[in-house]
Point group: C2
Chain length 403, copies 2
């Protein structure tokens, strides 16, 4: 009989979104006919833009024609897409990344999760608190997190508090860490990082030998003069991997395309992470649909870029409506200017779940309790700009008049 | 500084297909103008059928319309596709599998590779020899294979010889094994398994507590009265996981869709593998493109099924042309009747690579040396039915007249 991976049995249940759904369902069944508006949504809602669907139709026709059919593509992704990304996302911003350092994949969630395979179990991972749960859970599955403790933390993970007092940018760790997960613009806080602060992290990693796993899935939402890529920071090529996604950038949550950047000179004790990831992907992955890669390229080319940026501006305007409305009413609201998320301090020292219930029962508005993202998320609450304009305006109105 | 996963450094280079390409390139540069025909190809060549491209166009239009746009889909796959598969691939063949036991993914390579994550490092995997290299390499990456020895084998893997003397169906292991990889119809030998022989494996697994990882990626090529699924065998629900793919079934190598079946009652020491895989996929995977899932469903519905089966018959007819032609000329040729591969015994005790060179230099035909698939592949050679009819006929003619 096989021995199973016992680390799975240590994972606590993943109940955040099902708990939310249960409370909402109960409220709706007790108040039939009432309309509940969700600002908890972490998914895009605008359709795929015309330039991208046009590319998908063309690619579909190519796949249906013997003269242009394509079978297995390169595991690393088609060069046409990698070249477009290198030029548009990196070279044009002064970040020295070449096409052969980009690996196309079907999701940043997959990549951030799978990337841990390149490392030994015996490493210390550092994560922001609150945090996107995938970083922690995938380390736990690999046995790198130790045991889950009553305080809601894994005993071998280094948690870096991100609270309003530090502007939601963590302090440099005092203890030794090997792998540092950073995500900016951040989910869930919606806050971006300055080049100066990011430089501190790059310098720290270069000094200590740590590797930064930089999740830039929300870079398209940056409006200020802030780094979109960690490779805009000098020295980052020698200490950082970057994860990008088309999910929120171009509305691809249902189409699945992302990419991971690994500089050729990024080495750990002489071992190339680029070579290791290449071996991992050629062995365990078979590339992304040709149709999807054509769609992704179309989202980068001028017409598609212009159309997808209109969507980003729509979501950012929603975020501004929420933030401005709530701020004027006296709420402490963070983020929302360079990311789709607004991170609210709950009023009157309510816990995250108490505020959730109050918002649902009085304003019929749904958000996400901050405590679901980690212990230091307690007392915070996430709202998003991904709803419709009409619902966003009405939800803010309800909060202001009914709470 | 992080410690890297040292198992990667134990992996020997993966040179089979690059070595083949190098020799072919050298021959071509020395004989400019000559035409070399490849029967080594392991990829489909016929375009996506009209019923499937029609579904992709429809799904693309849905994604471009706010009223029908879909964001994140269920990680396990859309129910419309899982229901179609349960009914068409399992229930209709008397295999008791329900839709909620099917997990849609982007490739059987990913799934067979990633599935090992559910098990401890300390397990013994058994593989056929010769074998699809992914089973071995992914176990090696996880540290489950031990060390790579001079005889071309990993010292903790149990190799089960598949040679003409046993009809390319391995004997039951004499030593203790935990995880058994079986693939029928087989890559590379092209041979299928009977229900009676498969029943022996199921009974063995039930008796010893081993888990069978059954790769049925080529089931659509079965023409005889043979099991398409391991779940057609009584008892398999309690000991087997099954991997399926649209790659060779419907020409999806460039579109990426596959599925893995895990019965709800399949447990290892009380732990549900279905629950573990569900946790793994919801944490590290974000589902398959909606467009691709619509395409996959269309390939299963009557019109698409009829069109894709025409493609399968085309490849099988190619395989028959190769097998009949070479058999009449005195070659010992196996497989090809229930799978797209023909497994040739090399003539005159030539090694696989000696025969490769002879075929290339004299007949200008390219195949795949059997030794590339494992030590017991030595003295064998793989040809495939995936070429065009014209090239297939000419390649056989060349072999018969020039060798």
């Amino acid at each position: 009989m096989p021995k199973i991976n016992q680390n799975y049995s240590k994972l606590p249940g993943s109940y955040l979104f099902s708990d939310i759904a249960k409370r909402v369902d109960r409220y709706k069944s007790e108040h039939p006919g009432n309309s509940v508006i969700s600002l908890g949504i972490g998914d895009v809602t605008l359709p795929i833009v015309p330039a991208v669907t046009a590319a998908m139709h063309r690619a579909t026709d190519e796949m249906g024609d013997a003269a242009t059919f394509r079978g297995y593509g390169p595991e690393q992704g088609y060069e046409f897409l990698r070249e477009t990304l290198a030029q548009q996302q990196y070279i044009s911003r002064g970040a020295p990344i070449s096409a052969d350092e980009i690996f196309i994949s079907d999701g940043a969630k997959c990549d951030t999760g799978n990337f841990g395979e390149l490392f030994d179990v015996d490493n210390t991972a550092a994560v922001c608190d609150p945090v996107y749960p995938v970083y922690v859970d995938t380390n736990a599955m690999a046995g790198r997190a130790g045991d889950f403790m009553p305080d809601g933390k894994w005993n071998k993970i280094c948690y870096m508090p991100c609270v309003k007092e530090n502007g939601f940018i963590p302090e440099l760790p005092k203890e030794h860490v090997d792998l540092i997960y950073l995500c900016y613009p951040n989910n869930p806080t919606g806050v971006a990082i300055t080049a100066a602060r990011l430089k501190q992290w790059v310098d720290y990693a270069l000094k200590t030998g740590a590797i930064i796993l930089y999740d830039a899935a929300y870079e398209a939402f940056i409006t200020g003069d802030l780094p979109h890529s960690i490779y805009e920071i000098e020295g980052a090529r020698a200490c950082a991997v970057e994860f990008r996604s088309f999910s929120k950038t171009a509305g691809f949550t249902g189409l699945r395309c992302a990419y991971t950047v690994i500089p050729r000179d990024l080495k750990v004790g002489g071992t190339s992470l680029h070579a290791m990831w290449s071996r991992r992907q050629t062995t365990k992955f078979n590339g992304v649909s040709y149709v999807t890669q054509c769609a992704a390229q179309a989202a980068c080319l001028p017409e598609g870029r212009s159309q997808t940026m209109d969507c980003i501006r729509y979501y950012l305007e929603n975020a501004k409506i929420i933030k401005d409305g709530l701020s004027k009413a006296g709420y402490e609201a963070f983020g929302g200017e360079n990311g789709p998320y607004i991170w609210l301090k709950t009023p009157a020292s309510l816990t995250s779940w108490e505020f959730f219930d109050k918002l649902l029962n009085h304003a019929e508005v749904v958000g996400t309790p901050g405590s679901g993202f980690g212990p230091h998320g307690e007392g915070y609450f996430r709202l998003t700009g991904f709803g419709s304009r009409k619902n966003t305006i009405e939800a803010v109105e309800r909060i202001l008049t009914r709470i």
